[in-house]
């Protein structure tokens, strides 16, 4: 059976599971998206080859509590002072209602059904325009996801914490964050795939930041042996601010891609990424920042710590359009190699079609500084601990740029645990 046939069979089988109960708005896009997926995807690419007709569309390991002890850091703990939402296999299973709120967090299907007029303006708006094979695949197979909808002038104070656990073998979730004028929200997503080896998690998050809105989103990924693909697409209106941070601790093959469209004047975005590829893992960050509005600012920092035979990839692209005068754009990718077998491929890229810009980009790949290591040793800190100290420092520089206190503390805690578990 060819790979295409496998996908078609899965799609046919999915029709029963996915289409039956899904809104027409979702179903109407599927078939054509599937065809475009076949046209655009390179089937020699490892990431599409994990599929099999046996791939589960149903939950494989349905038990939230059934997390192996060595993964217990993943277990859900309620956190005080934040609105906690548990999402399992794309569906919201609990939402803490302990306080009044004036904005919605709902399932995607439910949102489309209840707010058809709003949904039709947003759903798949960006994925259709800036389609990639992965987002086309998502559109074809999408079953659910969550929507955070902030009507005009809603400023949220408590961070939103989404504990997002996936146990199915082939998951295509589509999330949307719709921030209307003058809104603000801080979101932290703990994204966990507790599924069989080689499972595919192919998520899409569309972010619509209307004028003067402020959206901060931190996503903390643990894919373990699954393939984890996250596509973020974001459209920004005038004077909007976004801050996206993606931290990946594990995953067989992981691709975090960002497509930022700075359309409005004086819009701002900050992209942060960190990952820890080790033991046969490959973790990629792909970013596209399109400056089309004047006076917009973008700031990107991606830092990776690679160990064992881990592989890291960074492909960054800034494009400053002809109308984007007074653009300020920076892009950095720094990588720390803790082993000789680790590999990093980095390609920062800058295309400028305007004279009135301030842009910089750069990348570094290096081992822990031997002078600094010796300095630590000369003060009584053994090499192993010194390497840990330097690794932590390397990643701390990035955490400093996270403005949300909850997100930065939670991230710091998880990073600390990762560093503890690693043998330098």
């Amino acid at each position: 059976m060819s790979l295409e046939e496998k996908y078609r069979e899965l799609f046919a089988r999915g029709k029963k599971v996915l289409h039956g109960s899904a809104p027409a708005l979702m179903n109407s896009l599927r078939q054509s998206a599937l065809e475009r997926f076949f046209e655009s995807a390179d089937f020699n690419d490892e990431k599409y080859r994990q599929i099999s007709p046996l791939t589960a569309l149903y939950p494989a390991n349905d038990d939230l509590e059934n997390i192996p002890p060595w993964r217990k850091t993943l277990r859900f703990r309620p956190i005080e002072g934040v609105r906690t939402v548990v999402v399992k296999n794309g569906q919201i299973v609990s939402d803490d209602c302990s306080f009044v709120r004036n904005y919605k967090i709902t399932g995607l299907r439910q949102f489309i059904e209840q707010h058809r007029d709003i949904a039709k303006d947003y759903f798949a708006n960006l994925t259709n325009k800036y389609e990639t094979p992965l987002t086309a695949l998502n559109t074809a197979f999408c079953n659910d996801g969550f929507v955070i909808y902030l009507p005009k002038t809603v400023q949220t104070f408590r961070p939103v914490y989404i504990y997002n656990i996936t146990t199915v073998g082939f998951a295509n979730y589509h999330n949307m964050i719709i921030a209307e004028k003058d809104t603000s929200v801080n979101i932290c997503i703990r994204n966990i795939v507790n599924a069989p080896n080689n499972a595919i998690f192919n998520g899409v998050t569309e972010i619509f930041a209307d004028s003067k809105s402020n959206v901060a989103l931190t996503q903390l990924n643990d894919g373990y042996y699954a393939n984890l693909y996250n596509s973020f697409l974001c459209r920004q209106a005038a004077s909007s601010k976004t801050a996206l941070c993606s931290v990946t601790f594990s995953g067989r093959q992981v691709i975090n891609s960002f497509n930022m469209r700075l359309e409005g004047k004086y819009s701002e975005t900050r992209l942060l990424g960190a990952s820890f590829p080790s033991q046969g893992q490959q973790i990629s960050h792909l970013s596209t920042v399109e400056h089309s509005g004047a006076g917009a600012t973008s700031d990107q920092l991606f830092r990776n710590i690679l160990s064992d035979n881990g592989i890291g990839v960074f492909n960054g692209r800034i494009h400053v359009g002809p109308r984007a005068a007074e653009t300020v754009a920076t892009q950095r990718n720094d990588n720390l190699l803790l082993s000789d077998d680790a590999k990093m491929f980095t390609k920062p890229d800058l295309v400028i079609d305007n004279d009135d810009v301030k842009c910089s980009h750069g990348a570094t790949v290096g081992q822990p500084d031997s002078d600094a290591l010796f300095y630590c040793r000369a003060r009584g800190i053994a090499e192993h601990d010194a390497r840990r100290l330097l690794a932590k420092a390397f990643i701390t520089e990035l955490l400093k740029k996270l403005n949300c206190k909850f997100a930065s503390e939670h991230t710091a805690e998880l990073i600390e645990r990762w560093l503890d578990s690693y043998h330098y």
Partner: protein, 249 residues
């Protein structure tokens, strides 16, 4: 405390130390002077165990144990401290975190209880006061963006925190303005005890007039060519090194 016998060391195949003999007892202060490139920093680096330097001959005994077989961290935990001529910057590691790790390693090695967060801060603030250490330096990353003088102050502060048995200070006085020099010298004075030994490397007498060494050694081309009292330092300041070298057969 420290007994160096016929120490030879080389870097990249070039012999730099060519037979050093030196004994330092508890409570003594020794000074080493010598022209640029004579091997002073090399001696320091060899003593703290910098891997790039190869010891080709000789022995070093520190506190009754064979120093040269110990890894650098063990030497430090046993109480050997070097204030580096040019300390490195470690971005992202706050001075306090760094010192907490270092101090606790030393305590642990000596089978003493480690200092928990609160205790450590109290201990650190005590030392801050003692040395008039500006608190803002301690909140920053180790040496990051420190001026030359601030780096030296920070080295002395680290010495105070680690309470070494033997402190080697490699040109602690270089790059300091008049006030900073007095400040650092005062601090060294406060850290002098009956049991602590010090080896001070300098080009200038001014520091020595504060720390009052018991012995002054002159190092030239990898050998100690003369040892005398503090007055030797003043002679050197007056006449330079050539006359000493000329006296050698």
């Amino acid at each position: 405390m420290l007994k160096i016998k016929d120490l030879h060391a080389s870097i990249n195949g070039t012999e730099i130390l060519r037979g050093i003999n030196l004994q330092i007892n508890a409570g003594e202060v020794h000074a080493i002077m010598g022209p640029n490139g004579s091997g002073k920093s090399t001696l320091c680096n060899v003593l703290v165990g910098r891997p790039e330097y190869a010891v080709t001959m000789g022995t070093v005994v520190f506190k009754d144990s064979d120093l040269l077989t110990q890894p650098p961290e063990e030497r430090a935990r046993r109480g050997l401290f070097l204030s580096f001529q040019s300390p490195v910057e470690i971005p992202g590691v706050p001075v306090a975190n760094f010192l907490k790790a270092a101090v606790n390693e030393r305590l642990k090695f000596n089978n003493r209880a480690e200092l928990a967060g609160g205790q450590f801060l109290k201990y650190m603030h005590g030392k801050e006061k003692l040395l008039n250490m500006p608190p803002e330096l301690i909140n920053r990353s180790v040496n990051e963006g420190f001026s030359g003088g601030e780096k030296k102050k920070s080295e002395i502060f680290q010495m105070a925190m680690l309470e070494p048995d033997l402190a080697i200070l490699d040109e602690i006085d270089s790059g300091l303005d008049v006030d900073a020099l007095r400040n650092v010298s005062d601090a060294i004075g406060k850290l002098k005890t009956d049991t602590r030994a010090m080896l001070v490397i300098t080009h200038h007498c001014q520091l020595l007039s504060y720390v009052r060494p018991n012995f002054v050694h002159v190092l030239s081309k990898g050998r100690i060519i003369r040892t005398g009292g503090p007055e030797l330092a003043w002679d050197i300041e007056d006449k330079g090194y050539d006359w000493i070298q000329e006296e050698k057969p």
